[in-house]
Amino acid sequence: MICDAHAYLGNSPGWAQMGLPVPLDGHAWVEMMDRSGVDRALVAPPGVGAQQDFKPDMDRIAQAMRDYPERLFGFCRVKPRRGQTAIDELRMRVEEQGFRAIKMNTLDDDYRLDDRALIDPVMQAANEFGIVVFFHTGDAHGETCQPSMVADIAVDFPSTTFIIGHCGYVGYQHQTAPSLKRAPNTVAETAGLLTPAIIQGIVDEVGAQRVLIGSNGPNTPIELPALMVNKYMNKLNPEEKALITGGNFERILRLD
């Protein structure tokens, strides 16, 4: 079972420029997964800081989950500065539409992951709703969203699972293994990271049960992460490869 822990479904102008159909709906996504040998995907609305609070694309994701309940799973995406409105939106998406996780990116609303007065109400809601929390880390704005900040949050919400998105790459990947060690309720995902040595280094430190593949698809071709792990990370044994490419995804989203 190949599962992609970080991808996008919806409408992004860049996708049309690349020659993809837009909006990219559940049907198109499942066709893409079938072509690529991917069984399941956790998809978020694209577009950092998107207008309309990501709602049109979250509606598309909700429809895709209804159409393909065994294949597609949804990230809710909210802007924390909306306060109670963001939490109400999150509650509706989880309780009424079956979203399984929340994705947070500091660029969405110009904030920092160490702004706990802003973040904690959303974290409390996620904890109450029993969903997984994904934080984008690293990149050009990595100073605002470091793996160590995720660990700080995670230790305060020990019942929730937190995903360190992109393993802190680029710029903060060195924080990922120490953060995973400090906060046992964290895992790391690999979207944008097609360099085996960095992933193997994290596995060596914390174990394969703490790493999930992500693709960033369709921004990046979705078959590449599993191809890399299964064919080109040969210090991993088959059980470890199975965890990273799918088993951890199913455990965290409680799909088994």
Binding site: M18, G19, V170, P221, L224, L227, N234, K235
Partner: protein, 259 residues
């Protein structure tokens, strides 16, 4: 059938390779076998390891041997530390003129410098210009502020007879300035090693044309097999001519008679 060439790979020794199951030393035979398995005709390879000890000589020696054994499949980058001054220039001449390497690769991490330190770089660039070989500049990444596409364009404007490769398309962290830099310096091309974001490639094609983009793999830091499918299967807005150019014909044009 399109011949596929990789404009940016590594041949030589790095203990890091063993961490994910590769041999510590990747030689010409490893590269030939890997290329055959991935449908790649040829590769331009550099010594691995930023700032490596011994001025990259053991790996340059391996590359020179591999190029000699496989002259139609493997092509070599020289790699030097510019702070070595005249010694670096002598080394560069030796590896190009006597050992048959085809290009120069520069990475600011190799010797803690910047591409806008022209007093340091210009003697090397003058040598490259006289040797008539292309130069790849690593751009982007966490040390991107030392090696931006615009800095390469500044250099290229001053050496209009040389070809400069903007490595990694400035990705990540400097890719936004890539197109403007290339438009400013017509004697630049770029290569895609470790760039798997389709929109970065597509925007560059639309801004400067496919004839100025080469496929790179960064292999073995990223598996060689991951690079060709980006252009073969995942860039539907490209025409077949553009695809062929990026995958191979631009490389052949760049290295000329060598290929």
């Amino acid at each position: 059938m399109t011949k596929i060439y990789d404009a940016h790979g590594y041949l030589g020794a790095n203990p890091e390779f063993t961490s994910y199951g590769l041999p510590e030393i990747l030689d010409g035979d490893w590269w030939i076998n890997t290329m055959d398995a991935c449908g790649v005709t040829g590769a331009l390879v550099a010594p691995p390891g930023a700032g490596a000890n011994q001025d990259f000589r053991p790996d340059l020696e391996r590359i020179a041997r591999a190029v000699k054994e496989h002259p139609d499949r493997l092509f070599g980058y020289a790699r030097i530390k510019p702070r070595k001054g005249p010694k670096a220039i002598d080394d560069l001449r030796y590896w190009i003129e006597e050992r048959g390497l085809h290009a120069l690769k520069m990475n600011t991490l190799d010797d803690d410098y910047r591409f806008d330190d022209r007093r340091l770089l210009d003697p090397i660039l003058q040598t490259v210009d006289s040797l008539r070989v292309p130069t790849l500049f690593h751009t982007g990444d966490t040390h991107a502020q030392t090696c931006t596409p615009n800095m390469v364009a500044d250099i290229a404007a001053d050496f209009p007879n040389s070809t400069f490769i903007i490595g990694h398309m400035g990705y990540p962290n400097s890719d936004q300035e890539l197109a403007d830099a290339m438009l400013r310096a017509p004697n630049t091309v770029t290569e895609s090693a470790s760039v798997f974001r389709r929109i970065v490639v597509q925007r560059t094609v639309e801004a400067v044309g496919a004839q100025r983009i080469l496929m790179g793999s960064n292999s073995p830091y990223s598996p060689l097999e991951l690079a060709p499918p980006m252009f073969q299967h995942h860039m539907p807005a490209l025409s077949q001519t553009e695809r062929d150019a990026i995958l191979g014909s631009n490389f052949i044009h760049l290295l000329g008679a060598s290929t």
